[in-house]
Symmetry: C2
Subunit: 352 residues, 2 copies
DNA sequence: CACGTTGCCGGGAACGATTGCGTAAAAATA
DNA sequence: TATTTTTACGCAATCGTTCCCGGCAACGTG
């Protein structure tokens, strides 16, 4: 089963010209006569000629395509980011190759090698939660591969980065819980080895402190796989609710942790927001329709994709090595709905 | 900014060999002495050599990658299918290139051209809702490009296809509404120019007829963009509820139509399932947590991706042109939850 | 008329890898 | 020892395209 395409040679042969002449005619070179150009262009059009990008990639050592690595496209946040990436990339004549790490650093590495060997002109990456060894990224970067990190960034590598204001998002969400009257606020967060984990946890802690509450390590639960592994969520919940002084609200620091929390709370027969308040990071379109409708911190995912791509194209198209790198921080948005609407009840004595 | 990779020439030069020898040593050819092989392999390992897939693609006219075209990766169904595709493709040494049509036939065509010019070895496609001209697919197919259609298939092109049992899924869902006591059952469906639209509508109608109800065209609303365009949904809903005899249940024939219906019903202040029952096709993970929890027809998305990929690899790796094509039909699964649980109320007189 | 300039085009190398063919040296055979 | 076979490697073409270089006309100029 072979699929044959028309080449520049076919045109040359048919028209009795050399391949060089045809190539130049197609590229509108000044050293080709108008008549010949017309001849070639018309014939090329007629037989539906398209230059072979593979041959071009080989010759030019560039592919006009950019590689994207995310952990999971099924995650609304990432699929929105990808749409942002595509919008900018396509208008600039670049194609986007998407690959998923599924939070595995091995798969991440494999994808990385595939993309680079495919001569992508640059990479947009949100690292997997498992990744602790950044040497391959560094090596790639040192050898001149343009890279932009977003969302889960790598501090130790100097390049452009795009993130949401994770600290403020977490700070505001936690503050909202406090202002709503919740007294013992727990958090479910990613590992602090992930930039988003660290920043959001810091925001949570700062909000507590600024309102005279001391962060309690017993109320901070880490989910290495960010809610992808059910057992991890269950364990975290069990630990929280077997405390002598269990939480009355949860701030979930990632998309799947947020919906996962709701699922776990429902399974326990607890009612939100009466028994427990819930707010979390989420970009799902459905949070408003959930039971109860969820208060969420929403990231400007599409815009983040756009920003990351603009920065990457800058790197790619720069003539000289870029040394002045920037980190763009975009504001999050808080959507307040029922899950944090504490009903007025008889005041409880709180020990916190 | 150029990213230089090590080539076979670098190895040849460093070891004082010819490129042919190095190439053969790397491919473990019998005509290379064990010592030379060892030398080459060790050096290649040391300098981290990887063959350039672009050069290989050019030479072999194959890329060991398959192209996938779906309308939207943000749709849970499609992201699950893609995971299925990747699982089979990767274990067979193929890479997957994902592209989105966003339901635009223009973008679909552009993606198609990009993928073929990138020498993908085969294509897995769910056509966009806008597409009415299948000539490009046919041409590609006729010229020997292996193609497998799934979900939204093209009847007029003879190749392998993978679909869910759309008829039965719709039939069962509608029957369930009838058995739950609903009397005037409306449907929101895709255009019938789409295979899934046609099949699901047929299932809906058959279920009504088999239970002594006559399908009423006033209760059948089409959404060309499958719920992606809010205005379209709104109009359909307005039309339904301005009927003198409005529906008391809705069967939504696609993912976004299902959640979109719930959103629209909530906006109207109608309560599900009391005022109106709701069931629909959906592969979202969150339907259980919605308010109310949604009864859904679930497609075996991951398995469909696996099946489609197996069939495609068969086509790709077949020595002779394949003429015996099959259409695999996988069963759907019905998950019954609150949105179809009609409360016992005073019997209404129904005119249907 | 001789010479430089310009316009227009072809030859061939290159990108990185594979592979059919040719061949020198070493080994096996007569 | 002479011949054949085997071993082990290099040369060069190929995939589709670009681009440097070289060349041949026709033209203009002194």
């Amino acid at each position: 089963m072979k699929f044959e395409a028309v080449t520049i040679k076919d045109i040359a042969k048919a028209l009795g010209l050399s391949t060089s002449t045809v190539s130049r005619a197609l590229r509108d070179s000044y050293e080709i006569s108008p008549e010949t150009k017309k001849l070639v262009l018309e014939y090329a059009e007629k037989i539906n000629y398209h230059p072979n990008p593979i041959a071009l990639s080989l010759k030019e050592r560039r592919s006009r395509s950019i590689g994207v690595i995310v952990c999971e496209i099924a995650n609304s946040y990432f699929s929105q980011v990808i749409n942002g990436i595509e919008s900018i990339a396509n208008t600039n004549g670049y194609n986007v190759i998407i690959s998923q790490s599924h939070e595995s650093s091995v798969k991440e590495l494999v994808n990385l090698q595939y993309l680079t060997s495919r001569s992508v002109d640059g990479l947009i990456i949100s690292v997997s939660t498992e990744t602790t060894d950044f040497n391959f990224f560094r090596e790639l970067h040192d050898r001149g591969m343009p890279i932009v990190f977003f969302d889960r960034i790598v501090d130790e590598i100097q390049t452009h980065k795009v993130i949401a204001d994770n600290f403020k998002g977490a700070y505001d969400a936690t503050t909202h819980l406090i202002n709503s009257g919740y007294k013992r606020i727990a958090t479910l967060c990613n590992t602090v080895f992930l930039s988003i984990g660290k920043e959001r946890l810091a925001g949570y802690k700062a909000a507590l402190k600024d309102h005279g509450m001391e962060p309690d390590d017993a109320l901070i639960r880490y989910c290495q796989h960010g809610g992808m592994v059910a057992a991890e969520m269950d364990q975290a919940m069990n630990e929280l609710f077997s405390l002598t002084n269990p939480p009355d609200a949860i701030f979930a620091a990632a998309d799947k942790l947020t919906t996962g929390s709701l699922r776990a709370l429902c399974a326990r027969g607890m009612s939100v927001p009466e028994d427990i308040g819930l707010i979390g990071f989420s970009n799902s379109e459905l949070t408003e329709l959930l039971n109860p409708s969820l208060s969420v911190v929403r990231q400007p995912a599409f815009e983040m994709g756009e920003e990351a791509t603009s920065l990457l194209l800058e790197l790619i198209e720069s003539k000289r090595p870029v040394t002045d790198f920037q980190t763009r921080v975009l504001s999050t948005e808080m959507l307040l709905r029922s899950s944090t609407r504490l009903q007025k009840r008889s005041p409880k004595t709180s020990l916190s």
